[in-house]
Symmetry: D3
Subunit: 156 residues, 6 copies
């Protein structure tokens, strides 16, 4: 199977999307960070006051999505028209699950932007909490759904 | 438990490490991307020729580590003195496992740099292969070990 | 009053502008730096020769405007179609007043880009002159006017 | 008076600080944003819940300080060892005053980093509130104090 | 002859392209790096295995093209729709010649993006090989052709 | 001959310089842009007034040097302690020759920083003048000399 990101000499290239039709595209990606009870409660206690950890992670995720084309070598720069990140608690497993929704109107999809948003936000959780728990695990970063574009809709 | 990244008003701050003693610090982080057999074989067939996917991911990981302080809001900029990323195949599970080793001599550790290296490299795998498989999952991003610094060594 | 940059959980989001109609948008912003006579004359003496301070500030302002979406967390990346910065002398007060005019054709305005241009250019004046005068004050950074977009025109 | 940032041909240069002695350096800078009562109360009402505006501004300020050498053409890149930003309310004038404290151990001071932190944070206030009030004014951005370095201490 | 990048006061400005008609634009740029036989063979021996030097240079060139508007002060940010870099060997002269092809649909051309791609890729060759040969020379960076835009097609 | 930037699997790595001794390091690099008489005179006529082209190129070169570790994948981030760029006219050949001098105190050299400074400045000349002459050629980018570091001094 030929990889789209390689040219005929098998060197990386940025795929030519010039002939694609611009359309509205949305991608949702999710990911989880699992932590100790102590770290989990530090987030929530904090949360009752100012939500510093959660909000810092959300802001980092939004800014990280805007950096996607700088981080992922073959990604196209694009106009992101909206980003929203939701944080869900799992009080039994001491986990936070993040869902990022990214939207654009253009010639390329925003799957990578949604994945970068989730990934950067989860890493920020790690950074804010690593003094309490170094064993935290980031897991299950995956595309939940996408709409728009020639390759059609995708739903996990 | 007080979070080190918050000030007395519970607003985020960049921790003052000015009084810490510079020392040699090393961090190892790992992470996995699981994919379909078809995607897995596309990487390896490619690999037999020029290793385009693996090498692009490694380069992205190294460059991503250098961007850590731009991505993670409370991270200190620092001098990275070395980065090496290893890619391991799991032919039975169709997974690639990455291990990033980052080194510095300074006042702060490089756990976040190692985690960012792994995370960016795994996202690059996803980007290069998403035309073949959109269901890939990035998982088990975690700190394997760290040495140096006042908080002492850590081994998972 | 609901803030547009917050979602229903009061966490920051990048507003969805996907449904807005693209239009030509222009924003003008201004700001002032007040300094000692000695610093003021150093700029002008220099100016008679090569205008190094003023021109460095203008270039920094133009480049700063292009970084707006990296600096301001909830700002959309956008295509800037033109930037021009004017520098006006006030020989009596030893002040320089800057006016930045930024233009785009898109779904979001360029107020923040014009304000970032002015702000970065003024900070560059400060940097170039701080060896002479550390008491300089940057003041009156404000939007002068904007045209285009659904919210209509604005004139101070 | 010769400007340190110009070479003998009056072209800009990055000053050679190679022979300076590294020392602990701290800079404090402040700045104010004045707004309508309506905007002011939107921040505080918000603040009672999650402090979204204030916290987003603080995070932007910290990240902006780290970008100083990218924004200000002749600034040296440096290792910032700590950043803290304080936000003070003025309920009578509907103003927020920000004070940024930046610290380093090195060969150059962090005045510009402190000024960039304040400036970026104030611009973020503007961005978050501009849907309510476009007439806000950013003012009185100035260096409050600095310690360390050959040129000695400064206090406004 | 008036320079388009200067305003009426001879200060730099970003040219207003707002009234230009968007069109498909392509630019090809080339450049050469000449090196010792020893360095040349190190690339090729390497190439037989994994092509590490060539591929790292190509990736750097693609990422460098995306940074054009950050590097070149008066360049507009734009949507790049495709980048491909070809590397040609000259076994007699121990030279590599690179050709970058960049495409966009927009209001400004991509000459600078193609030149930045070539330039960054050539510098990366230098970096990867400088331990073997410090006398390498980068030369003949030039625009080969451009199509699209009001100023018409160009062919060297 | 083994390339230092490759690991035992021939994948790129950032060389570990942790054990190197910090020292003062200086690098000088040069490069030339050749142009038509018309373009050449446009620079100089401009130069008689405000030197806009030359000064913009110098500023771009200084800022480009600071971006070296973002552009060149395996380059270490480092503290640059000084940058100076000289521009020399060749009135007979209609060429400008640039020499960049970069200095650091650290564990790695600044050859790449000096080469990036020259390269970015020359590309900026091209950008500022391309409306007059698209046939300009950038050539002879090379390291002139370096001092400091274990590999010893180099002089072309």
């Amino acid at each position: 199977m030929k990889l789209t990101h390689l040219n005929e000499k098998n060197n990386p290239k940025m795929v030519d999307v010039g002939n694609k039709t611009p359309s509205t595209r949305v991608a949702n990606a999710s990911g989880i960070i699992a932590m100790s009870r102590e770290a989990y409660e530090a987030v929530l206690n904090q949360n009752n006051k100012k939500g510093a950890v959660i909000q810092t992670a959300i802001i980092a995720g939004i800014m990280g999505a805007k950096k996607t084309h700088e981080l992922i070598p073959m990604c196209h720069p694009l106009f992101i028209s909206g980003i929203d990140i939701e944080v869900m608690q799992n009080d039994e497993k001491y986990e936070f699950k993040l869902i990022a929704r990214v939207k654009t109107e253009g010639k390329t999809g925003v799957e990578m932007e949604a994945l970068c948003a989730v990934s950067t936000a989860l890493l920020t959780f790690y950074d804010m909490l690593k003094a309490i728990d170094k064993t935290m695990v980031i897991k299950d970063i995956q595309l939940e759904s996408k709409t728009g574009g020639k390759s059609g809709d995708f739903k996990r």
